[in-house]
């Protein structure tokens, strides 16, 4: 395997092992579904593999992978909101009743309950800030925007989260 990837600066398997766990958990928090998060993680690493040789090193490789993950997740959640996707998911759930265990476990958590009700963009920002622990500069790089915008969006996301907690009677 080492010989196969010897000509590359970045060893794909190493990149995969170093980043998979965090990418999966970020995807889980944005998509709020275990199986979807797994599928999206796979898509993310396929994209990483495809574009690894063209990675321009303007940012760190982790930042670049997070950007791919966040964009893929947001696209997926937006697509899921469409009616035909919702109908498809309904059929999929009926045909696939097993494997809901993981969903039930983590969706009981207060933080996940709040995230599930939020807009995908705010889910991503709150996850990157509180779960991944990035600062404004890093989040701005991942989301491809400015630090000032991230400050304002974080404030709005927290406001929305507070409203959801109050409305849903979620104890924090």
């Amino acid at each position: 395997m080492a010989a196969r990837y010897a000509y590359r600066k970045y060893d794909f398997i190493k990149v995969f092992n170093d980043n998979y766990d965090m990418v999966f958990n970020v995807c889980l928090r944005i998509c709020c579904n275990y199986h979807t998060a797994q599928d999206i993680s796979q898509d993310v690493f396929l994209k990483v593999h495809k574009n690894l040789s063209g990675f321009n090193e303007e940012s760190g490789i982790s930042t670049w992978i997070y950007r791919i993950a966040v964009n893929t997740c947001i696209d997926h959640v937006r697509r899921e909101k469409k009616w035909y996707t919702q109908i498809r998911n309904l059929f999929l759930e009926r045909n696939e009743p097993s494997g809901r265990f993981e969903n039930e476990v983590f969706l009981k958590d207060a933080g996940m309950k709040i995230l599930k009700e939020m807009e995908p963009n705010y889910r991503a920002i709150l996850t990157l800030k509180h779960y991944a622990g990035f600062d404004y500069r890093e989040i701005a790089q991942i989301m491809n925007t400015t630090e000032a915008t991230i400050g304002v969006q974080l404030h709005r996301a927290r406001k929305q989260a507070k409203d959801i907690a109050v409305r849903g009677g979620i104890e924090l």
């Binding site: 797994q38 690493f45 709040i114």
Partner: protein
């Protein structure tokens, strides 16, 4: 600091304060205000609780092995090498090279290794021999005017003042047998007389005069006597 005047800005400031993105002097002032204002303190605590709940979300271990196996199952993908994607500057370089190539092709041949000079009344002292009819000097590539016609005629008329390309040394085969050719060349307001004589395909002598001064060069390219009087 009075929070009643800044009611709209307080939640944003709390957000910046919690994230430690507030400048130090503002942060100290805000801390002082928080210790004195219970409503702002309450707002801060609520925001902190939201953040705390998100931090405490369970870390689920995914299944990297399964994901990698699924990726490996796509044999076509797994066996294909990571595609080569040149960076932007490579594309830019290739484009620049293409433009340069086109530009070079547009330049007429011999443009860089020749001088553009005015040649007056080229005269042949003897008739051309069997080796060739035309002088090697001024191979007949005029840039403008009627030079093309003049260059192709063996005895050009004296009135045909023309722009010609004069090379430093003529082509070996271009000199008529045992003939000599004299050119009067005007260059930078000076008149030069160039006399070239050759034998069969061999250049025998090359004489260059500026007025009465002889500034001729021998065939090795040296200048034995500078400005020597003839």
């Amino acid at each position: 600091m009075n929070c009643k005047d800044m009611k709209d800005r307080i939640p944003l400031m709390i957000s910046y304060y919690i994230d430690r993105e507030m400048p130090e002097h503002e942060s100290e002032e805000f801390e002082k205000h928080l210790s004195e204002c219970p409503s702002c303190w309450k707002m801060l605590e609520e925001t902190r609780r939201i953040g705390g709940a998100l931090v405490r979300t369970p870390r689920i271990s995914g299944n990297p092995g399964e994901t990698l196996d699924k990726m490996r199952q796509r044999k076509k993908w797994w066996n294909s090498p990571i595609p080569f994607r040149p960076r932007k500057w490579v594309y830019a370089g290739m484009f620049a090279a293409l433009i340069a190539l086109l530009f070079v092709n547009l330049i007429p041949p011999g443009y860089f290794d020749s001088k553009q000079v005015a040649v007056n009344q080229p005269s042949y002292t003897t008739s051309p021999g069997p080796g060739g009819k035309q002088s090697g000097i001024g191979p007949g590539l005029p840039f403008s005017g009627s030079g093309g016609n003049a260059a192709s005629t063996p005895t050009p008329s004296p009135s045909d003042a023309e722009i010609r390309t004069a090379q430093a040394s003529p082509e070996p085969g271009g000199i008529p047998d045992e003939d000599s050719v004299t050119y009067n060349i005007k260059l930078n307001e000076s008149e030069y007389e160039v006399n070239i004589s050759g034998q069969e395909t061999q250049l025998v002598s090359l004489e260059i005069k500026e007025g009465d001064k002889e500034i001729w060069m021998d065939l090795e390219g040296t200048q034995p006597e500078k400005n020597s009087e003839k």
